[in-house]
Symmetry: C2
Subunit: 462 residues, 2 copies
């Protein structure tokens, strides 16, 4: 990718609005924009100032009356010269302004190219650049908080500090290698081992945070298990309806909806349809049942919905008839307490809880909303229990997780090597590997392929 | 509507994008925005400057890293103090920033409230304010050109000049009234008549421009008439496919499309479906046929598609079998010349043209595209022929047309009054009426109801 030319793109969402912003970045953009902008001479104004003027095409026809803000390198997002043109929010006008800027010599920006330039010019590291995309896509308070922490360098600082320790480690080991023939051991083995252990400990803590980070970023997949008419959709609607910060169903028409998304206490929950599971008992085919269990397997959280009755043993039998998957400890819900003797419902709740060993057994009425607050708290607590209290940043990016995993393996080998007293030049190789993998997270180590893969998922204009 | 408080709204289109802009306007907005903005003190920066900072909520949590541009009254769109906050384009972030600004004492702007304030503070007149909405909605070059001319005061200047003449006229007449008992005729009746005639002439010229103005603004309704299989959809697709500046079908899913929109030479054409007309011959009911003619009646331009054959009389008979509406002189198209002896097609074309008296008879092949350039030129010429060459601005707004119509009637009465030598105080009343109607266009005369009606159709944030 060429990085020394002048790029332009619409930076605000497509469509009609009061205003739209067109962003230009590159060494010549102030000159080029000035060629079509009639107002103050943009080449002579101070950086960070905004000016009214008209944008004209080559025949002198006015395209729009605009505000242009000039940024001078390095005081801009990309650290290049930049001009932001704020025009009337008409797709036609945006198209025309971009057309005349292209004619002057700019080219259309590729997806994520502004952020890529910001990265290449040292404004952001790679994990921060990725956080920009997460930030834009964030729909809930927790997604936003994680993305912002990452953008503000939370992960960066942690990784840099790890790399610093490792570099020190590596230099000690490599010094030994230089004097290898003289059989000198500069480095205290115990100190080295303790250093490696502490690095590995931190790497693993970061790795462990990914379960929580991924749940926040992608949303927590939830499956409601239960017989027909036990009130699954009533429950779903009750959760949807009460919640003010409803996250809309994923794109598509109503008919295309494949999951409902609800934000509870700032955390996104994705309710997966288990139509298959519902029919499993009636249908003849094993295949159908297996398919339903496939859906169930996607769930991080399972709500098992039973219709409350006096006989707790019946309820427990029904609960036990559905196969459980490891790591999936369902929350048992005893529904329809509104049609039951309320004073008994707590006894049944306690009995089922005791018999199943599932402490979060909750008697509810999806219809009247009774017990739903307890359910919400339980759901949220369930997710928050994934959060490690290491006080370290939370990893929410699969790429970072994989790099940490690789670094963790290398550090395992380092520790084994130290224990087995293998030659220090071999240990040094594993340390270098760990350094390499950590460097991939922040982009200190990067390839064109990697950058292409990351930035091509950005929107144009970012 | 209260106009001295502080308003806030998203100004860019809703949805995810690289950036979003939140606009604040009102006497206290710089103070209020500064309360949540951590960076330079916005109260101390110069107007028209942009600053980097963090926006925090009341608990001190960072919502986003933003750029804030400060505008000091009267140097802003609304002529009030204004702050524009450019943040990451996440709907969640936008919602949070607006939330904290509301908590500080701003209120959510009503639709069009920024432009309404700009109008009330004398930045724009009413016809210019309306042009802002047209400009944002413009989809074609000609729509854009008309809206921009109006925004830049084209209509305003014309109306102001008319009102100036009329005010002079009125003062002459009213002076007479003051001296009425003395039976003095200050004003030269011939001069008055000539003045009134020239004013009426201009008003009528503006009125006449509305046929063209409306065609540009709303798009030209076109109906393609023809028997089944004569190639109507092939023709439509050929026109659609060749045209680079295709205007997308009006909102809705593919199934909901009720008309195809094509921009040809910067003019928008709306092709109305005539499924009814196609079936009229096969169906038994008169009602069905009438419904088809209702569709036909909506057309400003009719393309009558016939399949070319040797016998011109047959073609003319088929053409004549479809009822013609006044003002609808169809363009006759002889299709499928690719399946015909090309050397004969021009003879047939000429024969049909002579027999029907329709000079724009064009032999085409919707399949190969032959003749379509001629057709496009003819279609565009047909619309442009509506354009009066008065050199005056073009009226494209129904409200302006109705005001001009009312003013025209008043001026008719003025002229009749002068001719019939009725008392000058009665003539003065009609002049005042004409002044009133013209004043409604620019907003020199306006009511809260009128303003409410106009601005409630704007988007929020404009």
């Amino acid at each position: 990718m060429q990085m020394d030319d002048d790029i332009v793109a619409l930076a605000t969402p497509a469509g009609q609005g009061a205003i739209a912003v067109i962003r230009c970045s590159g060494p010549q953009v102030i000159d080029l924009a000035d060629g079509v902008f009639f107002g103050k001479n943009l080449k002579q104004v101070a950086g960070g100032t905004t000016h009214y003027g008209k944008i004209k095409d080559d025949e002198g026809n006015i395209i729009d009356e605009c505000m242009a803000t000039v940024f001078q390198a390095p005081r801009s997002y990309t650290r290049e010269n930049a001009v932001e043109i704020s025009c009337h929010g008409s797709p036609f006008i945006v198209q025309e302004i971009i057309r005349v800027l292209l004619a002057r010599g700019m080219r259309l920006a590729l997806p994520g190219e502004y952020t890529q330039r910001a990265f290449l010019n040292g404004q952001l590291d790679l994990s921060q650049a990725e956080a920009v995309a997460d930030l834009i896509a964030s729909q809930t308070r927790e997604q936003h908080r994680l993305a912002l922490t990452q953008l503000r360098g939370g992960v960066t600082h942690e990784i840099k500090s790890l790399r610093k320790h490792l570099l020190e480690f590596a230099s000690l080991i490599e010094l030994e290698n230089d004097f290898g023939e003289e059989d000198v051991a500069f480095a205290d083995r115990d100190r080295l081992r303790s250093l490696a252990e502490s690095v590995l400990h931190i790497i693993n803590a970061l790795k462990d945070s990914f379960r929580f980070g991924r749940a926040i970023k992608e949303g927590v997949p939830v499956v409601i298990v239960g017989k027909p008419n036990v009130g699954k959709s009533t429950l779903l609607n009750a959760l949807l309806g009460d919640e003010k910060a409803i996250v809309s169903a994923i794109p598509g028409t109503t008919r295309d909806v494949i999951e409902d998304r609800i934000s509870i206490d700032g955390i996104l929950f994705r309710f997966i349809d288990t139509a298959g599971l519902r029919q499993a008992e009636d249908e003849i085919e094993k295949m159908g049942i297996e398919r339903s269990y496939d859906q169930l397997a996607k769930a991080q959280l399972v709500l098992h919905l039973l219709e409350i009755e006096e006989n707790a043993d019946h309820l427990v039998a029904e609960y036990s008839s559905v196969r459980k998957l490891p790591d999936q400890a369902p929350i048992i819900l005893l529904n329809k307490i509104d049609e039951f003797h309320e004073c008994h419902s707590y006894d049944v709740e306690e009995a089922v809880s005791t018999l199943t060993g599932r402490t979060p057994t909750i008697a509810i009425s999806a219809k009247t909303g009774r017990g739903l607050d307890r359910l919400r708290k339980e759901i949220v607590a369930n997710v928050k229990s994934l959060q490690t209290d290491s006080g370290r940043p939370i990893i929410n990016n699969l790429r970072h997780y994989e790099a940490l995993d690789a670094a963790s393996e290398s550090m395992d080998r380092v520790l084994r090597g130290l224990k087995e007293e293998i030659p220090s030049d071999l240990v040094a190789i594993d340390i270098r590997h760990a350094l390499h993998h950590l460097g991939e997270i922040t982009g200190e180590i990067s390839t064109d392929d990697l950058l292409g893969e990351i930035f091509s998922n950005f929107c144009i204009g970012k």
